[in-house]
């Protein structure tokens, strides 16, 4: 098989890996919490959009409502699960393990029996050729949305006043609090933003393939590996990691045709990432 399709497919999946990694990073940088339920959260939001669509709302408004709902859901999870009797970031990450099993069970219970579902495509239906590979407009949208959203997040962190606050909190949570920064606001915003990013990734995966409760199962490890390549803090690291993993996946799926190789490679990259950043990982936040 020629190189073109491998590169094209790799870039498309890689973009989505990178975007999910960005969601993990947005939350981790600001709060020190690694959300093990990030992928499940996104899938649940796509099911919300699906339910809205089945209830008679046309796809585009349903997806827009989903975006709003995912922001609200992220904030809600923070208020209900994370904020009460707060612990250190490590203990809070443990709580997301509870969310991980709870959310996947909720989806399995409500939608598990008839899965997978076909999710309506909100993008134009046609396709075009790139390097000898047919690319649909959904796939193109996946790449463009990833670039736009990552750039938006980076700009938000770099130039806006809320970005400055987030950076202050992530560099020293306690001092920021003493200086009058409202840490809770930063936490809510981070949870909401990460939730939105996760939902967008799940939405695109659902439109490219189909929708099922375990839609994101194979992708969480890859996203975590991509995020880890930048020490869970660097958006550039996540982009590079996502791309490398996307290319690794498209290569192995052509030459080895065994999906577990993607996981093995992701684990190897995760090891490298953890090893490179082991000194500062988990020490970002002291309380």
């Amino acid at each position: 098989m020629p190189l073109g399709p491998i590169i094209v497919n790799g870039v498309i999946t890689g973009a989505l890996f990178a975007l999910l990694a960005t969601a993990l990073i947005v939350l981790y940088r600001a709060t020190g919490v690694l959300n093990f339920a990030q992928a499940e959260q996104g899938t649940l939001m796509v099911f919300v959009a699906y339910a809205l669509w089945r209830a008679g709302i046309s796809p585009v408004p349903a997806v827009l409502l989903m975006a709003v709902a995912s922001l609200a859901f992220g904030a809600l999870l923070y208020l209900v699960v994370i904020r009460p009797r707060a612990q250190d970031a490590f203990g809070l990450s443990l709580r997301t393990l509870g969310l991980f099993i709870l959310l996947s069970a909720v989806m399995e219970k409500i939608w598990g029996a008839d899965a997978p579902y076909r999710f309506p495509n909100v993008f134009p239906g046609g396709e075009f050729g790139v390097l000898g590979q047919r690319v649909t407009y959904v796939q193109l949208a996946a790449v463009i949305l990833t670039v736009l959203l990552t750039a938006a997040i980076a700009a938000l962190l770099r130039f806006s006043s809320i970005g400055l606050t987030v950076r202050a909190v992530s560099s020293d949570r306690e001092t920021a609090q003493w200086l009058g920064v409202n840490v809770a606001t930063v936490d809510v915003i981070s949870w909401a933003l990460a939730s939105l990013l996760g939902a967008v990734v799940a939405l695109l995966f659902a439109m490219i393939g189909s929708l099922a409760p375990d839609l994101m199962d194979p992708f969480f490890l890859t996203a975590m590996a991509a995020a880890m390549l930048g020490g869970l803090t660097s958006l550039t690291g996540a982009a590079i990691g996502g791309l490398v993993l996307g290319l690794a996946q498209s290569t192995t799926s052509v030459y080895l045709n065994q999906p577990e190789w993607t996981s093995i490679i992701a684990f190897a990259i995760l090891l490298v990432g953890v090893w490179l950043t082991r000194a500062r990982l988990g020490r970002v936040i002291s309380t």
């Binding site: 699960v81 009460p84 393990l97 099993i101 996947s104 199962d217 880890m228 082991r278």
Partner: protein, 331 residues
């Protein structure tokens, strides 16, 4: 590394592994022994599986209490333990006792290497790698690469074995065998934690700086302890496989990670019998009342969140506190 005490704060400085004394262990053993008088064949079958989970959970609890380490690898260790048993015993025809011993030994080896590679890493890094490790092991087991060994999605049957003349054929026989092995290893853990070696390990978890000052070789001790923790995971997996009569990759999926955590935290980190209490409540009882897999996952998610937010002492912690209050009230 911050101390475990601040993370899972106890109200009163309880002695290490209270309610894990040989007395309470004997009481628990008596309950396990008379269970066949109360429960039917299917309920015993479920209880036997829970004892396997309890054994693996004991490892998780000890790692958390003694080292502050979140052994998310334990789910993978259970899988490896189960498959080592079935592969050596059923496929290669090795004697059953040898295969049963090989399961924890293999897991101790893997877990030890994992611990050695992650020496000096933060708790979070260790937890992430553990989670990813379990993820990748499950993916590989349910994929095509190892289909010959894993039996694919459907798994493989585990035939009854013979342990020095004792055959594990039939509900009651396999239950008593699994219960005996599990309880012996609970007693071993209790004795080990009371030994000078165990006390050194507990000191490492409480305060690494003090431990270093006392001349405890922290890194070597951590690797050795985590190897032992892995061994308990492998043994637990082998026992669960033996008790359930089959071993399949989905049983050991990523869902098992929060399940083991919920078992340990519900029981109460720091208590030897935490795994036993948690496994009976979250694995045994739901199985006995024929709760569906999805409902059990819901239960585990809710319990895990509730315990983490509201009752970090777990059930045994609350019992311990209540007993303490009673004792103080007496003149």
């Amino acid at each position: 590394v911050s101390s475990v005490r601040s993370r899972f704060a106890r109200v009163a400085p309880a002695p290490p592994l209270a309610l894990g004394g040989l007395g309470s262990l004997a009481a628990a053993s008596a309950l396990v022994a008379i269970a066949p008088l109360v429960f039917s064949g299917y309920q015993l079958y479920v209880l036997g599986i829970s004892l396997g989970y309890a054994t693996a959970a004991l490892g998780v609890a000890t790692a958390l209490r003694a080292l502050g380490a979140l052994a998310l690898t334990q789910a993978a260790m259970m899988a490896v333990g189960g498959y080592v048993l079935v592969e050596l015993f059923a496929s290669l025809g090795l004697p059953f006792p040898l295969a049963l011993v090989a399961a924890p030994v293999a897991c101790a080896f893997i877990s030890g290497i994992f611990a050695a590679l992650t020496t000096g890493m933060t708790d979070l890094a260790f937890a992430i790698l553990g989670f990813a490790f379990t993820f990748v092991v499950t993916q590989v087991l349910s994929g095509h690469l190892l289909k010959g060994i894993s039996g694919g999605e459907l798994g493989r049957p585990v035939p009854p074995g013979s342990f020095f003349g004792y055959s594990t054929n039939g509900h009651l026989a396999v239950y008593y065998f699994v219960a005996a092995v599990a309880l012996v290893f609970f007693a071993l853990a209790s004795m080990l934690l009371r030994s000078s070696l165990g006390r050194s390990v507990l000191q490492v978890g409480d305060d690494e700086v003090v431990a270093t000052a006392l001349g405890i070789p922290i890194n070597r001790l951590k690797v050795a302890s985590l190897a032992l923790v892995g061994a308990y995971g492998g043994l637990g997996g082998a026992l669960a496989a033996l008790a359930s009569g089959f071993v399949a990759p989905p049983t050991f999926g990523p869902d098992l990670i929060p399940t083991l955590m919920a078992i340990v935290l519900l029981g109460g980190t720091g208590y030897l019998l935490a795994g036993l209490v948690g496994a009976v409540v979250l694995q045994g009882v739901p199985g006995m009342i024929n709760m569906s897999a999805v409902n059990r996952e819901l239960l585990i998610g809710v319990v895990l969140l509730l315990v983490l937010v509201f009752a970090r002492q777990g059930v045994l912690g609350e019992v311990d506190l209540a007993l303490g209050r009673l004792r103080r009230r007496r003149p």
